[in-house]
């Protein structure tokens, strides 16, 4: 069968190649779709750290994705209207600079992940799934009913934010930026997986008692992983907001959490490139089935069901014929 590393290289090259080809042929929309896949895959890579490595089934990661999005929305909308966010005790102004926005998005979603994680990780199993879901809903309802930043209407940013040296409004340049971030984060996530911390994290998933016996604190390890995972989702949210030039509470809804999870599982839980493959399949299905029937979600549902029942290793598992190390 195909070796997973070979397959990963092929996937990576494919994802670089298709948009470049589309660029040459003037198929602008294909580039936009590829960018969307990259951004959603980035959120998936974040979730995969909690889900695949740490075995933490979180149904509330939309919260971090949305907080990242709102970090971008709030900063950029203040820059757009030239109204400072805060004047006392010291002046904070909005910004249209992507790197600054990203850093803030990562910090804000990290803080949220720390708070939610610290409470949620006191529980496990089904409790953990439902408490993360409920925290997600709490933030979702807050965003809808809080009028300052548009409530359910969300925030529109008319022009994409700036990145030094690039014209981000040109689709291929923005794609290149997103693809570079995705590649960097996948690389970091692979380093993390094979680091001492990554080993310890996987140990907590496989056997909690034994992990404790060797002197590690599973709670602390899980919490750190949960925060890293939330931070990556926050970054993905900020980039996604820039792709759409728009943020709204929909980013925070539990359907978003479900979709991010679907990307990971469709690709193959715990595998490095799973989120990219999963997001690609999902977006393409949405794109093509949507044109075939108004009731396309039935087919999407059936397909997902088939994957869960008959291909537990996801698509990558199917191609490499090796059962994923998830238990």
């Amino acid at each position: 069968m195909i070796k997973e590393t070979d397959l990963n290289t092929a996937i990576w090259l494919l994802f670089l190649g298709v948009p470049l080809a589309a660029w040459q042929m003037g198929e602008i929309y294909t580039i936009t779709l590829a960018t969307k896949i990259c951004v959603l895959a980035l959120a998936g890579v974040g979730l995969n750290i909690a889900l695949g490595l740490g075995g933490m089934v979180s149904l509330g990661h939309a919260a971090f994705f949305g907080i990242g999005g709102y970090a971008m929305g709030i900063l950029a909308s203040h820059a757009q209207s030239y109204a400072p966010i805060m004047e006392t005790p010291f002046l904070i102004e909005g910004t249209k600079s992507m790197p600054v926005i990203w850093v803030l998005a990562i910090i804000m979603s990290g803080i949220a992940a720390l708070a939610i994680g610290a409470l949620s990780l006191r529980t496990n199993g089904a409790y953990f799934i439902m408490i993360t879901l409920a925290f997600g809903q709490m933030i979702y309802f807050f965003a809808i009913s809080w009028p300052a930043y548009g409530g359910e209407d969300g925030l529109s940013i008319y022009v994409r934010n700036d990145f030094p040296g690039l014209n981000t409004l040109v689709p291929i340049q923005f794609f290149a930026l997103c693809f570079a971030i995705l590649t960097a984060v996948i690389f970091l996530s692979s380093r993390l997986e094979h680091s001492r911390f990554g080993m310890a994290l996987q140990a907590t998933r496989q056997n909690e008692t034994r992990t404790q016996a060797v002197g590690l604190t599973p709670y602390k390890i899980r919490l750190i992983a949960f925060v890293i995972s939330g931070m990556i989702c926050g970054l993905a949210g900020a980039v996604s907001a820039d792709l759409n030039r728009f943020v709204s509470p929909t980013m925070l809804s539990w359907h978003t959490s479900g979709e991010i999870m679907i990307f990971v599982i469709l690709g193959g839980t715990g595998r490095l490139f799973a989120p990219l493959v999963g997001a690609a399949i999902y977006i393409m299905l949405e794109h093509f089935l949507g044109g075939v029937s108004d009731y396309w979600q039935i087919f999407l549902g059936l397909l997902l069901l088939m994957v869960v029942l008959f291909a537990p290793g996801g698509v990558i598992g199917l191609l490499t014929k090796r059962e994923a190390a998830h238990d």
Binding site: A126, Y127, I129, M130, I262, L305
Partner: protein
């Protein structure tokens, strides 16, 4: 504040709680016995509402509709259990979440395909339309009183079923040791199907009862599903008693929060922003309640160590 208004709001909270109990009882039973997280439970609630509306429109009888909703939801439960769910018991929670999420998509769009995109009509039976007079001068809708009664009867029925019958013994045995009761010769597959159908029927009943005073439409089950999750997390997953107490706690907190918080903020701030802030906070209140419970009892109020 007039006492009658407060008493009426308490009744409203109780009625909301009882309705949540009908949803959560099935969810918590299925989790307790089979260890399954079923996100599609809300779809069974929706199916109950749609079947009741369709049958009531066709026959003109709400009672027939209610019966059909119970039977239809139970049948849908059996179908789903034998085709899909039983393959998931041995899987981890992750696979269960994804598979039942897929079922939501199939059920929602399937229902839309069959019944169309517009909400269906379902009204309370004539016998129970209009209010009844209660002490303190309260006028309370008869139908809502009926929901409270039905809900409490179901709670009693479930209690008797679990403590007094052979099926109940098996259910309890299944909760404490799945392998053992299979070894003792109990037909475990059959037991699981029955429990799942029972949970589905309760969800269908709730959907039909509530459909008559709310609206029968696609996606009606999802907000209730999430509240039901909150309920069983507070009560302790797997505990029917916990579900009852959790449901009433959530019902009361939500109803009284929506009612009292804006008034509380209005005592020290301008009216419009008090309403906005009070309502925003009220919508998050049950989640705050849940977080509070889990800080002190990570397994919920009545949850055993799992």
């Amino acid at each position: 504040m007039p006492l009658a208004l407060f008493a009426e709001q308490v009744l409203n909270g109780l009625q909301f709680g009882v309705m949540l109990f009908l949803m959560s009882a099935g969810l918590t039973l299925v989790f307790g016995v089979m260890g399954l997280i079923n996100l599609a439970h809300g779809s069974l609630y929706m199916i109950g509402g749609f079947i009741c509306a369709a049958v009531a429109a066709f026959t003109g009888s709400f009672l027939l509709g209610l019966g059909a909703a119970l039977a239809g939801a139970a049948a849908a439960g059996v179908l789903v259990e034998t085709l899909v769910i039983r393959r998931l018991y041995a899987r981890d929670h992750l696979d269960q979440v994804l598979a039942t999420f897929a079922l939501i998509l199939i059920f929602s769009e399937g229902t839309r395909w069959v019944f169309g995109s517009f909400p269906l009509f379902l009204d309370v039976p004539d016998l129970l339309s209009g209010p009844v007079s209660l002490p303190l001068g309260i006028q309370y809708p008869a139908y809502r009183l009926m929901i409270i009664v039905v809900g409490l009867l179901v709670a009693l029925g479930l209690y008797l079923l679990i403590t007094r019958t052979r099926l109940g013994i098996r259910i309890r045995a299944g909760e404490s040791d799945r392998e053992m009761i299979a070894a003792l010769g109990v037909d475990i597959a059959w037991l699981y199907t029955i429990v799942f159908a029972l949970g589905a029927a309760l969800a269908g009943l709730a959907g039909a009862l509530v459909g008559a005073i709310q609206s029968v439409q696609i996606g009606m089950g999802e907000p209730v599903l999430i509240l039901a999750f909150v309920v069983i997390v507070i009560g302790g997953i797997g505990s029917v008693k916990g579900a009852l107490i959790g449901a009433i706690l959530v019902g009361m907190t939500d109803t009284l929060g929506r009612f009292l918080l804006p008034q509380f903020f209005a005592t020290f701030m301008e009216n419009t922003s008090a309403t906005t802030i009070g309502s925003s906070l009220a919508s998050m209140l049950i989640y705050i309640l849940m977080a509070g419970v889990l800080i002190f009892k990570p397994q919920g109020l009545f949850g055993g160590a799992s």
